[in-house]
């Protein structure tokens, strides 16, 4: 495997670790099965790309994309909290609506950014090559996001969001406004996904309407793989596990792409994903059995 392909996997893994953190917030902390991300990821890409093409500063454009993602999360939560639509269904409705909305925003299915300024082209010093510079910048972003989330979810408001997810009745009896917490949590979750979409568009040459396909699968796979590598109950470790899960997942794909010798090809990637998640799910079970036998 070449260095270039390794750094490529790291770069894409870091971007998807933001998605994985978002999915972790909705699925694990809020227990809200949220498929909106399949729409909010390209939404972030679309808004980011359109803003940049229209001459906006790339940083401001990325902030706009994050806010757009957050708005999509708020809408899904509103459908669920105020209109009493089932959580899964609400997110599916939002996901399909976003397909049309994204097309409207872009005006066409593909907005290239190959020749436009991006946050990476602005931040990267001249002497640093693309394939090393981009992951370095992304590491900073991901570390900030991870520690930011850790800190936030230890504040009173953050704890209220977690309480809403783990036991809504108890949370309500303690005076937590659970509806507001769901809306807030979904905004943070999809905001992260929107940010990931904008960064993705800026590293991969543009936004495309099809870039959202399968985002939720990748996000969930990363969460599950991460939880198996680093099983823990501490939030600090859990967010770390999720970030690692996303990166490991991308390394596996790079491995699959580079394993011509055992006959694996890109066509087999979905199978590799399924196997990887299965193995990740089975490892804790094996560990348990092994530990039990040891005790006996």
């Amino acid at each position: 495997m070449s260095l270039f392909s390794l750094f490529g996997a790291l770069e894409i893994g870091l971007i998807f670790s933001l998605v994985a953190l978002g999915v972790f917030i909705s699925f694990r902390l809020l227990r809200f099965p949220d498929l909106t991300v399949d729409g909010s990821f390209p939404l972030g890409g679309a808004v980011g790309a359109m803003c940049i093409v229209s001459g906006m500063d790339p940083f401001l454009a990325t902030v706009c994309a994050t806010l757009a993602g957050a708005a999509a999360g708020v809408l899904t939560a509103l459908l669920n909290v105020h209109l009493k639509i089932m959580d899964l269904l609400a997110s599916i409705l939002m996901m399909i609506a976003l397909y049309s909305i994204n097309l409207r925003i872009m005006g066409k299915p593909n907005i290239p950014l190959i020749m436009e300024p991006t946050v990476f082209s602005v931040l990267q010093p001249e002497w640093l090559v693309d394939y090393i510079g981009r992951p370095l910048i992304l590491i900073v972003v991901v570390v900030l996001a991870k520690f930011g989330l850790d800190a936030y979810f230890s504040t009173q408001q953050g704890l209220a969001i977690r309480a809403t997810g783990s036991n809504p009745r108890m949370a309500r009896s303690q005076g937590v406004n659970t509806g507001a917490m769901i809306i807030l949590g979904m905004a943070i979750s999809n905001g992260l996904v929107g940010l990931a979409g904008a960064l993705y568009a800026q590293t991969q040459g543009g936004a495309d309407i099809s870039m959202g396909i399968g985002t939720i699968v990748i996000g969930l796979a990363a969460v599950i793989v991460g939880e198996s590598i680093l099983p823990s109950r501490k939030l600090f470790m859990l967010t770390l596990a999720v970030v690692l899960g996303a990166i490991v997942y991308r390394f596996f794909i790079a491995l699959a792409l580079n394993s011509d010798f055992i006959g694996l090809k890109a066509q087999d990637l979905n199978l590799v994903t399924a196997l990887l998640v299965t193995v990740a799910l089975v490892i804790p079970l094996l560990k348990q059995r092994y530990a039990r036998r040891k005790r006996v």
Binding site: G8, Y99, P112, Q267, L269
Partner: protein, 325 residues
């Protein structure tokens, strides 16, 4: 070994001789070409086969002096990005990107490895090249753009009294949207009007076509992936409601369109392959001007014309490359 007859021994030695000969050939410089497509699809696959054919014709043979790699992203842009990174990292002599997203991922990833795009409708709008002139960068290729004036002439030849042209397409496909936009600008000059029907999914093609019944005199289709995948469904609507179908890829004529003046993707691939060969032989991609398809082919389907209530002019049938009955 003892039990082997003499003949077998002889053939064994012949094989070993042949093997050593092949080793001698393998010693000559091996060129590597990596091809990636966003998705597997009959037209894109024949483009890929065309590339390999052109390489073979120029004396590059797989396993001898050519290392050939092909990977499809299965429609997933994140996978396309990773395939692009892998290929760039392998540093082959040429990378070919089939269709817009795959080509964009390659161009975004490298400014040095030669990239040849193909089956991209508008490389300038996709920012693969700054203009239709030789780029001076590491990128060149072949576009499958069609001269729409010729398409309109064909439509008028088959349906002379045409006023409204219907088009079924996927609003999520860059190539299709480019054609629709161009038509909207061009058609008024001919006194014609475009009526659009969106089919975001393959299953929507039939209902989108039905929504055009009574509003249009002819339905024109471009190389939209959704529409091409469900051409039979479209042909049924055309036959039932006597609306002539005119396609822009020759394969769809066999599947129920009356006629198509279009790009043959196998030829397009061969043309792309010839560019690849020029680069392998030392030319710089930046010096090669991006090309469009060299030869368009006219296919007509007489049975479909009958079903859709059209009498094909004799001059058209005489001109056709292939007539389907």
């Amino acid at each position: 070994m003892l039990s082997l007859p003499k003949k077998a021994l002889l053939s064994l030695s012949v094989i070993s001789l042949a093997m050593s000969a092949s080793f001698a050939i393998a010693a000559e410089p091996v060129k590597s070409v990596a091809v990636t497509a966003i998705v597997e699809h009959p037209a894109l696959d024949s483009a890929r086969d065309g590339i390999l054919h052109a390489l073979n014709e120029a004396g590059f043979t797989e396993g001898k002096n050519l290392k050939w790699q092909y990977q499809s992203a299965q429609g997933n842009t994140a996978t396309a990005a990773q395939i692009a990174r892998k290929f760039i990292g392998d540093n082959p002599d040429v990378i070919v990107g089939i269709a817009t997203p795959s080509a964009q991922a390659l161009v975004a990833g490298s400014k040095s490895v030669p990239v040849v795009f193909t089956a991209v409708t508008d490389p300038v709008q996709a920012q693969l090249t700054p203009s239709w002139e030789a780029s001076g960068t590491n990128v060149t290729g072949v576009s499958d753009i069609l001269e729409l004036e010729k398409q309109i002439e064909l439509i008028k030849e088959i349906v002379p009294e045409v006023k409204n042209i219907g088009m079924v397409y996927n609003p999520g496909e860059a190539n299709s949207v480019a054609v629709v936009e161009a038509f909207k600008e061009l058609l008024p000059k001919y006194g014609l009007k475009l009526v659009e029907a969106a089919a975001p999914r393959t299953v929507d093609v039939s209902s989108a076509a039905r929504s055009l019944v009574g509003k249009v005199d002819v339905i024109y289709t471009n190389t939209d992936n959704n529409v091409v995948s469900a051409y039979e469904a479209l042909a049924k609507v055309g036959n039932d409601s006597k609306i002539p179908l005119i396609a822009s890829d020759t394969d769809s004529v066999k599947r129920g369109a009356i006629a198509a003046l279009g790009v043959n993707y196998r030829d397009l691939g061969e043309q792309t392959g010839r560019i690849v060969v020029r680069i392998l032989n030392g030319e710089k991609p930046g010096d090669i001007q991006p090309q469009t398809s060299e030869n368009l082919q006219l296919y007509v389907n007489v049975t479909a014309a009958e079903k859709q209530g059209v009498l094909l002019p004799l001059s058209l049938i005489e001109r056709a490359t292939e007539i389907i009955r």
